[in-house]
């Protein structure tokens, strides 16, 4: 039904555009009257008046529809004091499933009348939606039509409409972000009512699985100390550092090479090739790490007489580092290229060699930008999940041995949320607490990094 209405609105708007345009063309041709704007602006004007109000109503109506139906249907059940919110929801979804013929299993007799009621209410709502929208279209069109005949400044109105549309898109993006952050925040607050923040931040024992098997009879004191997130913070930091120790030297030097030494042709080929590394799906890196690099390290370790577990922080970190190389190298290349040629020439003209010039003039000048790019890469490393899930294991070890299994914040979020979970126990809510911690870390790093990069840009542009 919605689709039909949407199609109708689009067709109407389009014909309004054509109609408005030709109407103005004809009028000015026949009567010689001069209009303020070009004919097509009157077309756009009509189309906007035809489409936008209708679309807005369609949008909100469709959202509230189900809500309305629910109120009507559940009115009868509300009187029963035994039914709480969850049960009511369950009943409603059963009724709905029966009505839409999606119910599996034997249909409970008692609900059949309700499902019929559901259908009829729905039909009435849909029909009235169609009627309302059509009448709105007619109403606003009559208004708009009278306006264009009055020779309004259509061009300016269209400009306003465009501005509003763009603004709404931006607003949607902002509100979505806000919504995500708020939901993270609320769930974490729930978590922190059952587990103290202090224990979460300083505890060194992470075993949320044990919290789950316990029932309410166990004292909360026991629940608290299985949510010590320090091993996760450490693991995240540790693996990110391993990754950076791979990505920074390789990325930095290849960036410098591309920017300063390679021929333009070579750079044009090699830069996209390196950037492919960032485009490979992380799962692919994950099994590369788990199936190739991990075992490879284990074999080397065995030959050296070291005890390497096949899931190790080292394998995950190294592969993650490879993935991040392009973040460092491409940004380094860009930043170095942004250092003005005149500085290089100034140095060369004094008789400095190329590498002296790079070391003493170009790199110091580019340093803020390079630091910024490294910080961005770090925040990428901290947020990376798949590689760690597959290659570093799940054990929340607090260890500085890179050859042992390790785990990160993101990995634990995944493990916690895999499978069906109810959202009301501390174990699940812990995921939100971890999420907001992670969000907080990366946000701070990103803000710092972007600021540094911005300062750098301002200096040279």
């Amino acid at each position: 039904m919605n689709l039909v209405i949407l199609t109708l609105i689009i067709i109407f708007s389009f014909s309004c555009y054509l109609f408005g345009k030709s109407k103005i063309l004809n009028t000015s041709r026949v009567s010689g009257k001069k209009f303020h704007s070009l004919p097509e602006y009157y077309g756009y004007y009509l189309a906007a008046w035809c489409g936008l109000p209708a679309l807005i109503i369609l949008f909100f109506w469709s959202f509230s529809e189900l809500f309305l139906v629910k109120i009507f249907i559940l009115a009868d059940f509300k009187t029963d004091p035994l039914l709480d919110e969850n049960k009511l929801n369950l009943i409603f979804s059963e009724i709905r499933a029966i009505a839409e013929k999606k119910f599996t299993g034997t249909i409970p007799e008692s609900l059949i009348p309700y499902s019929e009621k559901f259908l009829s209410i729905n039909r009435i709502l849909e029909l009235s939606k169609l009627v309302v929208i059509l009448s709105v279209i007619i109403f606003s069109l009559t208004f708009a039509y009278s306006q264009i005949l009055k020779n309004i400044r259509a061009r300016e109105s269209v400009e306003k409409v465009i501005r509003v549309v763009m603004f709404s898109c931006a607003a949607i993006a902002v509100f979505t972000t806000l919504g995500i952050v708020l939901s993270l925040l609320f769930e974490s607050i729930k978590f922190f009512t059952s587990v103290s923040i202090f224990d979460f931040i300083t505890g060194i024992n992470w075993a949320p699985g044990r919290a789950f098997v316990r029932d309410a009879s166990v004292q909360t004191a026991d629940v608290e100390n299985v949510f010590g997130a320090v091993p996760l913070f450490w693991g995240t930091f540790f693996i990110a550092m391993i990754a950076m120790s791979v990505a920074v030297p390789i990325g930095l030097f290849s960036g410098i090479y591309m920017a300063e030494y390679s021929s333009r042709k070579f750079r044009k080929i090699i830069k996209p090739l390196i950037e492919i590394l960032a485009g490979i799906p992380t799962v692919v890196y994950g099994f590369f790490a788990a199936l190739t690099v991990g075992p490879f390290f284990r074999i080397i370790g065995e030959n050296l007489g070291l005890d390497v577990s096949s899931e190790s922080a080292l394998a995950a970190g190294v592969v993650m580092g490879i993935m991040i190389i392009p973040y460092v190298s491409s940004l380094t290349d860009d930043v170095i290229n942004a250092v003005p040629k005149s500085l290089r020439e100034g140095s060369l003209a004094i008789g400095a060699t190329k590498s002296e010039t790079i070391k003493k003039v170009v790199l110091p000048a580019a340093l803020p930008g390079i630091v910024g790019s490294i910080l961005l890469a770090i925040s990428r490393a901290i947020g990376e999940t798949m590689i760690v899930v597959m290659a570093a294991g799940l054990a929340a070890n607090l260890t500085i041995n890179p050859l042992e299994a390790s785990t990160t914040i993101t990995t634990q979020i995944v493990t916690i949320l895999i499978g069906d979970q109810s959202f009301n126990n501390p174990k699940t809510q812990a995921a939100f607490a971890l999420g907001i911690t992670l969000f907080f870390f990366t946000l701070i790093i990103n803000i710092i990094a972007l600021n540094i990069v911005k300062k750098f840009r301002e200096k040279y542009e």
């Binding site: 333009r264 005149s342 003209a349 004094i350 008789g351």
Partner: protein, 255 residues
Amino acid sequence: MNNDKIKISTRNLNVYYGAKQALFNINLDLMEKKVTALIGPSGCGKSTFIRCLNRMNDVIDICKVDGSIKVDGSEINEKNVDVNKIRERIGMVFQKPNPFPKSIYDNIAYGPRIHGLAESQNVLDEIVENSLKKSALWEEVKDRLNQPGTSLSGGQQQRLCIARAISINPEVILMDEPCSALDPIATAKIEELIDELKKSYTIVIVTHSMSQAARVSQNTGFFHLGKLMEFNLTEKIFKNPDNKMTQDYITGRFG
């Protein structure tokens, strides 16, 4: 100009940017401890020419320099010549001041450090002070040597770049429109400075200002479309040029 010593001489100098030829058969002698001005309409190849003299055109991939450039009689336009040594002897000041994003002190100390000219901190301090004095900047910056070079005004920055060029005691200083970004007062200061510097250095200056060329130089070369149209004593060029085009350009009837 007969009893003067020739510092740099070019013979049959041809320069190409890719397939496009920018200079045609330039034969020109630069006299030691004299100021030579190069004038000519935009795009005629003045910058290209002086960049040949310290091999700065090597930096541009597509640029090819053919012919002979001799400094004190020895060829520098050859593959096995050490470019860095050439540039140590022949310094350059650019159109736009380009101080390094370092302190004023480090800007000047950069060259001496690279070439190992100062064995001790004292000697380095002395070099910095002398260079700044020679470029008439010392009084203005002596209390703020640790501030970034980029914090100076445009005219001061240009004098800083001149100080940077003379810090390694070159024999020749090439200046490519050193005053084009400066106001008349800063320009006057630099012109005074050039007058002073010519006692110890051979100077080549590219300029778009006829009056500047007339004021500071002893010899003047007029370039047009990549060719050296006329080269003579400045006085002669400005009073009574041999070439009709030179006459037109100088009097502003052209270009």
